[in-house]
Symmetry: C2
Subunit: 340 residues, 2 copies
Amino acid sequence: MAKNRRFVLASRPKGAPTPENFRFETVETPVPGDGEVLIRNRFLSLDPYMRGRMSDAKSYATPVEIDAVMGGGTVGVVKASNNPRFSEGDLVLAQGGWQDFSLSNGRDLRKLPPELDHPSYALSILGMPGFTAWHGLLKIGEPKAGETVVVAAASGPVGSIVGQIARLKGAKVIGIAGGPKKCRTVVETFGFDACLDHKDPGFAEKLKQAVPDGIDVYYENVGGKVFDAVLPLLNVHARVPVCGLIASYNATGLPDGPDRLPLLAGILLRQRIRMQGFIISDHYAGEFADFERDMAGWVKAGEVKIIEDVVDGLENAPDAFIGLLEGKNFGKLVVRIGED
Amino acid sequence: MAKNRRFVLASRPKGAPTPENFRFETVETPVPGDGEVLIRNRFLSLDPYMRGRMSDAKSYATPVEIDAVMGGGTVGVVKASNNPRFSEGDLVLAQGGWQDFSLSNGRDLRKLPPELDHPSYALSILGMPGFTAWHGLLKIGEPKAGETVVVAAASGPVGSIVGQIARLKGAKVIGIAGGPKKCRTVVETFGFDACLDHKDPGFAEKLKQAVPDGIDVYYENVGGKVFDAVLPLLNVHARVPVCGLIASYNATGLPDGPDRLPLLAGILLRQRIRMQGFIISDHYAGEFADFERDMAGWVKAGEVKIIEDVVDGLENAPDAFIGLLEGKNFGKLVVRIGED
């Protein structure tokens, strides 16, 4: 058996992560114990939430311990099984982490159809990002036909799917993305009505012109200056699902004043706005099957698409992840660990 | 017919309203035209939302014009009617404003039972404040038995009713009020499990100790330092109905930094919190009948009580209103204009 290459958390980042926060190790490949399964990881999903796990600040998930393997969703193949539910050769969705091989007691594994055309889709459009888009938009945003939906990070895996679903529901959809190239794809590939570049100095004014009827749903996964531009445009009874705040994940403190907390509360009150945070892991038991049925149908019909950004080689995971937080990549970031 | 005494808005307040913002006038009593009703106002409700109407900043309701009569809910008696739906002597709920007499085309009038024991209850426990408490707590807060509900301005008309309904639903209820006297009443008269004085320098720490299981519902009608103390104690999946922000109504600008808007957004996300503003006037058509049935039953059974603060004489309305915004009054503030 090959050795196991892996990234462990070497130190906690102060602000943006650096390559030094990760340590690359080569260790013996573990042997599955009673009831355990050994998995060869083929694809690793890289996602913004991982930044939170690198810190030990209070969050919704336990932080990664120093010297522990970086966690993450993976698609892999069972290489050895002491668990009656899984056999050698099974394709599985797992929490395999940033490494070649992982062990599981089977509880966090989901068997995938062996003939899956795009195994990595289980990490993107048919997996966590797709489910995040579907739940936040449909269960909290509740867009109605003719309403205006604004989507931040519109070229990203979650945002691009949010906008495509909102279009299917008959809403007018405005995306926000960083740079003209991303914006072009949002309109041409994902079919948004328009897309605005938040790096444009006239961004706030252009957003205002793009939503003459105001904003009914703002799908928030960015925060920062994008939210600032959206805030005064929110309509009465607007809904703001909050699934991420990537703009502040690397922040080491709060921005300078004035303190706009009372401003936000006042807008929520006057405009009767619902702002609601959610974490997708709360909703698998209740809703994943519904999501899967909807999305599999849309993907098959070509109504919802995804762009993947596949990085080759586990050794490139830290740089790819650092770039993700800087908005450098384009599409759902997945690392191809190996196909064997 | 007696002359009509009234208060008009003389000037818009900068910060806290002063007596000079109001002008007392005596004018001819108006004569009802076709389809109109003349009402002798008996009770006038004074409420914090009126501060918003005195400003011309963007808000959910049209501001009072300069030299126009200050608006407000009233209970009165029909003195003359050219409207087939109303007869002389009818007791009515109206938007009569700060004056002895008012005209109505009948559309904003609601007939009250003539035998009503406490006509002013139509302005408090059976009216707008009671409905505000009922809707915000039950439709947004959705308290479950065993959960912890924290209520700001707990000795006020809305807060006191929120807490009593939450107790009926089996929640543990902690009130927050200004001063030991108000706090005693919140516990002894309204039956809250505990009440904390927000003027106590150790308030934030005492609140933390009073909610060992965290806060599941925070009924927000204050803002400011009370919200600051509540924020870190909100549980996963907490609900925050926002029906008022009296602490900032007189503010002329935002407080100094740091800017805690990203902090609030981050807490909403991590704790998966729903924060939702509402304005009760949106909900009369759909829900008032349900509220009235619930509340009339609770009042009759002695399960929900109100304390009224009745000020005698229309001429005292401005001072009473200014005191209301300063937290000086105790109970639902109502002006007895006259009983004739």
